[in-house]
């Protein structure tokens, strides 16, 4: 996209002497584009392609990748941001900003003659110290609804307007509370299915305590709605297949082949009959009904047989839904019908079909103790759905991180201000020029509160000075209240970030900045890709 043309794509040919300044200016370029993203008052970016495709995002990593960067410096930064996203799901904008700022600060000292090696060594010392400071700031939390809501709300309000963010906060927290075990360990997020429904008028998101699938039965006479349903989850073909072996060549006579075909069909019929037999056994004379959800195919003949028995049958279910269904409804996903018993079946209070345009949806609901749930997102168009889906992912990750960490870090710049103060104190204990690098590191961190201030329309210097003053006086962490521009205590407002996110930022930013400063190595990496 447009803005990145500031980066000179031919830069890899730059001579070593120029390479450092190329790196610095490239990372500044990206920083400029990303800066405005940061925080709940940041700017949402709407990217419109030459054909009219729309992508809406406030996420640093998404934006970085939409921008299509070929420049080696930029792609190194993009890689750090992707890693940040993979590991924690958050903090990608901060990553880019801090890398940029570390390089800017370094540039000042290098201009004054400080060797890049000394700077990178100092940065690494600072990194270790910052991690200690971070550990000291840990705010232990009990795993309960309120605390999880705080972290999810903080994250979601940086991506969606308050109203929608608050709705999604509850949905995400409920989803995780529903499936999490007693031990409060992080959950397997694959067990929260995200299902999109494009619908002209509705923008809504809800939690379904069960499974929603994007397909329905394929037989006109099958029931569209069943209550008290046994659920048979299986991965067994109910489709007569014209395989390569049973075609032509291998049979001496046409009769021989016909026989084989019949036998093959009969084989499938018997399989289906086994399901019907079980259905009769468990349902006849009760108010119970029967649903088959198959990962493999079910052909029209088999559908016919099942429909005649009032069984609802779905074919080609997602592989992952096999596991989800078993967790949501109980029962076991069957790979064969040889030994099919009642205890293999799951159970759902309600199964029904919903048609929207070309797509049928099947809801499997009212499950007793669902260990897998679905978040159903409705939106009027693709880009809105994508925006919501990205946000829901962020919310779920933030909650899951909290289950892992069992602690949070006060947000709104509180960590960065505190780290700045403590690192400056620490630098005074360090001898030699490394001290300068540690100071540079301390100052670079301030880019976060500064940018938060600027994005909310406050003066950055003014804000920083007051935050530092307040921070030095207070024993509680102090952050920036974006609605007033005044220092405040984020903990009181429930504004938190994940510990793992901050930790990862500190580590990866330092590593990448170091790489970019030690130009020689970059040049070598660049050359090897040139040789390719």
């Amino acid at each position: 996209m447009a803005a990145i043309s500031l980066l000179n794509p031919k830069a890899e040919f730059a001579r070593a002497a120029q390479a450092l300044s190329v790196n610095i200016s490239a990372s500044k370029g990206i920083q400029d584009v990303m800066k405005t993203n940061l925080g709940p008052k940041g700017t949402l970016k709407m990217l419109v392609s030459g054909a009219g495709d729309i992508k809406i995002t406030k996420d640093g990593n998404v934006l970085l990748h939409e921008m299509q960067i070929q420049h080696p410096t930029a792609s190194l930064i993009a890689r750090a941001s992707t890693a940040q996203d993979d590991i924690t799901g958050d903090g990608t904008t901060s990553t880019v900003l801090i890398i940029g700022e570390l390089l800017k600060q370094a540039e000042l000292y290098i201009a004054e003659g400080l060797h890049p090696r000394i700077i990178t060594e100092g940065f690494d010392q600072a990194r270790l110290q910052a991690l200690k400071i971070l550990d000291d700031m840990k705010h232990p939390v009990e795993i309960n609804r309120k605390n999880l809501q705080d972290i999810a709300r903080t994250a979601l309000r940086t991506k969606l307007n308050t109203q929608l963010a608050d709705l999604l906060t509850d949905v995400c927290v409920d989803a995780i509370l529903t499936i999490k075990k007693e031990d409060d360990k992080p959950v397997d997020l694959h067990m929260v299915e995200l299902m999109e429904m494009q619908h002209k008028t509705a923008t809504d998101t809800q939690l379904v305590k069960g499974i929603v699938m994007d397909h329905g039965s394929r037989h006109p006479d099958m029931p569209k709605r069943l209550e008290n349903a046994y659920i048979l989850t299986c991965n067994v073909s109910m489709e007569y297949e014209k395989t390569e072996v049973n075609s032509g060549f291998f049979y001496k006579t046409a009769e021989e082949r016909e026989k084989f075909v019949l036998a093959e069909r009969d084989f499938i019929t018997q399989r289906v009959q086994k399901v019907i037999d079980l259905k009769k056994k468990v349902c006849d004379g009760t108010n119970k009904t029967f649903v088959v959800i198959n990962q493999k195919g079910i052909d029209p003949n088999s559908l016919d047989m099942l429909a005649k028995e009032g069984i609802m049958a779905l074919r080609r279910a997602k592989r992952r839904n096999m596991e989800r269904l078993a967790l949501a409804c109980g029962g076991v996903a069957m790979n064969s019908f040889d030994d099919l018993k009642e205890e293999h079946l799951g159970f759902a209070g309600l199964v029904y079909e919903h048609v929207l345009g070309e797509t049928k949806y099947t809801f499997v609901e009212n499950c007793k103790i669902p260990q897998s749930v679905t978040i159903l997102m409705k939106g009027p168009n693709k880009h809105t759905l994508a925006q919501i889906k990205d946000a829901v992912r962020d919310g779920l990750r933030a909650i899951n991180n909290t289950l892992e960490d069992k602690c949070l870090i006060p947000g709104a710049g509180a960590f960065e201000v505190q780290a700045n103060i403590k690192l400056r104190e620490y630098s005074k204990t360090v001898k030699g020029k490394a001290r300068l690098a540690i100071q540079a590191y301390a100052d670079a961190l301030l880019v976060i509160p500064k940018t938060l201030a600027v994005n909310s329309g406050y003066d950055s210097q003014d804000t920083i000075v007051r935050l530092q003053e307040e921070g030095e006086l207070s024993t509680d962490p102090i952050g920036l209240d974006l609605s007033t521009g005044e220092p405040f205590k984020p903990v009181d407002q429930g504004i938190f970030d994940n510990y793992i996110v901050k930790k990862q930022i500190i580590n990866s930013c330092t590593v990448i900045a170091t790489n970019l400063l030690l130009v020689d190595e970059i040049m070598r990496a660049g050359m090897s890709s040139l040789k390719g």
């Binding site: 996209m1 009219g52 390569e244 072996v245």
Partner: protein, 560 residues
């Protein structure tokens, strides 16, 4: 109950999409909207699905295409059929933002629009959208097409288009370079979640899916994606997989590499593709209009009765598409016999694990306008077909082949008894169908060979945006037969008869041997990008080994 035997088509790569675009255009041109006319012998439901959109019935290919960012040009990712929510660029009354403002969940004053310049539609597409193409309207597509969306006639389901964001399409260089990069990409959410799910969505709709046609670029990173994809299909669906590895007639250098290096990278990608196809496909047929597909790719195949520009992708791809269109007829026929299955085609040809076949085409089938098939076969003694598989020559000995001849009306088989005269003297006169006669023809002309023959009455329709200039030398009648006497009368060629053959023979051993020797010579260390992308030395060895083993399948067999 008559069941449709659906086929799902996958196109992976830029050239694959050139071929695919022609393929779907031709399909759509063969639709018959006239209720008076007898129902077609070809069942279009095999390749197309019925859907609905805004209470209208839609009919779109069961197809997924894959290309790089930037290749779609003026087409949106959701296609150009289900266009309800698409925004208008350049609307003077309502700018882009205000068109969708209400749907964006963010504070008003804080949205930044980053708009790329609008990409204009070429005039052919504009006419198509606005008022349809008028009879005789010319667009000089040969000169103006620079990518496949430019000549897209068929409209696609919103599910069909898939774009790789990580690499950008460029006219000058190819950025998506190695097999290995392609296989790595398969593990990204685009494929794991979206693409695979779309395949599942298509299959879920099918009552009796026969399998997959996979058309892919074998020379670049798409080879890696495609092999992962085929592995997935095999693993998940165990249905027939017919693959067409393509080698384009014009290639770009890869980034950061000169011509020699680019050639080597292509060679490795092709070799890896063949090795993997021998494992996961049911059958594969490499296609190219060049004589050689690796090392010294320069000579273009010549076709006797058409004039084409061998350096024009729009031209070349239409020839390959004509091959696929014709050879696939046998599993698209309405009449269902035991023969008319993709699985059957594969089983006929892939004996002893010889999954690679050569392709030949006779385009157009060079019969004179007043001639009967029996006389034509009797007199014609030069090569009937041109090979379109790279580095492949297949002679007339010990061949298994599957032949398709289309566009010869039944009454052109032979003369009726009363008028037959000399025809009666020929053994072929006893043949009562086109396929029977072709079968006999090959029995006589090929030694120790086995031919399966399918035929269809319908010729291949020639209609813009197919390059009609192929026939501009005015040697064909409007129905695509050679004129008996050259005259100046200009006739619009509306259709042509075509014959294709898919052939297996031990001569293919030479093709594989050549590929193996070439690739074995390469020092992997000299091409760090494979290793950089994550290729393990062991894996490389294994692939070479696999290729060698595959080659040996063609060597030691008594029967052929």
């Amino acid at each position: 109950m008559s069941v449709t035997r659906e086929i799902i088509t996958l196109q992976l790569g830029n050239y694959a999409n050139f071929v695919g675009t022609h393929f779907w255009n031709t399909q759509e041109h063969s639709f018959n909207y006239d209720p008076e006319v007898e129902v077609s012998e070809i069942n279009h439901d095999v390749l197309f699905r019925e859907g609905n959109y805004n209470r209208n019935v839609t009919f779109t290919p069961r197809m997924l295409l894959l290309d790089l960012k930037g290749s779609l040009k003026f087409v949106q990712e959701s296609g150009n059929l289900y266009t309800e929510n698409q925004i208008e660029l350049n609307n003077p009354e309502k700018n882009v933002l205000s068109q969708i403002r209400e749907t964006i969940a963010w504070q008003d004053d804080n949205i930044e629009v980053m708009e790329s310049e609008e990409i204009p539609m070429p005039s052919y597409q504009k006419s198509l959208m606005e008022n349809g193409i008028a009879e005789g309207e010319e667009f000089n597509l040969k000169e103006t097409v620079n990518n496949w969306p430019d000549f897209m006639y068929t409209r696609y389901h919103p599910r069909s288009i898939n774009i790789i964001k990580n690499y950008e399409y460029s006219e000058q260089i190819s950025t998506f370079d190695t097999f290995t990069v392609g296989t790595q990409l398969w593990n990204s959410p685009l494929f794991e979640d979206e693409y695979c799910d779309k395949i599942r969505n298509y299959i879920e709709e099918c009552d009796q899916c026969q399998g997959f046609q996979t058309i892919f670029d074998a020379i670049d990173g798409f080879s890696g994606v495609s092999m992962k994809c085929i592995e997935h299909l095999e693993d998940e669906y165990s249905k027939s997989i017919l693959a067409f590895p393509l080698i384009p007639s014009v290639v770009k250098n890869f980034q950061f590499s000169d011509e020699g290096m680019s050639e080597t990278i292509r060679l490795i990608n092709i070799a890896f593709s063949y090795a993997k196809l021998s494992e996961f496909s049911s059958l594969f047929i490499p296609l190219s209009t060049m004589e050689r597909g690796w090392r010294n790719v320069s000579d273009a195949r010549k076709f006797h009765n058409i004039s084409y520009d061998s350096s024009n992708l729009y031209h070349c791809s239409s020839i390959l598409s004509s091959f696929i269109d014709t050879m696939s007829i046998q599993y698209r026929l309405r009449e269902i016999t035991n023969q008319n299955y993709l699985s059957n085609l594969c089983a006929q040809l892939n004996i002893y694990g010889r999954k690679m076949c050569g392709a030949k085409i006779s385009f157009p089938f060079p019969m004179n306008e007043k001639e009967d098939l029996i006389d034509f076969l009797d007199r014609f003694n030069s090569d009937l077909m041109q090979c379109i598989s790279p580095n492949t020559t297949i002679g007339t000995d010990r061949i298994i082949q599957s032949v398709t001849l289309r566009g010869i009306p039944k009454n052109r088989l032979k003369k009726p008894f009363e008028k037959a005269k000399d025809q009666m003297k020929m053994a072929a006169y006893k043949c009562s169908s086109i396929s029977e006669m072709i079968q006999l023809y090959y029995q006589c002309s090929f030694y120790a060979s086995l031919s399966h023959v399918a035929s269809a009455e319908s010729a291949m329709k020639i209609k813009s945006p197919f390059p009609k200039e192929f026939f501009s030398d005015n040697r064909l009648t409007s129905r695509g037969f050679l004129k008996e006497f050259q005259n100046d009368e200009i006739s619009q060629v509306n259709e042509v008869p075509v014959m294709t053959s898919v052939q297996n023979s031990n001569e293919l051993s030479n093709t594989l041997e050549n590929l193996y020797t070439q690739v074995e010579r390469v020092k992997l260390a000299k091409i760090p990008r494979f290793i950089d992308a994550g290729l393990e030395k062991e894996e490389y060895k294994e692939l070479l080994e696999q290729l060698l083993v595959f080659k040996e399948q063609y060597d030691d067999n008594e029967f052929l």
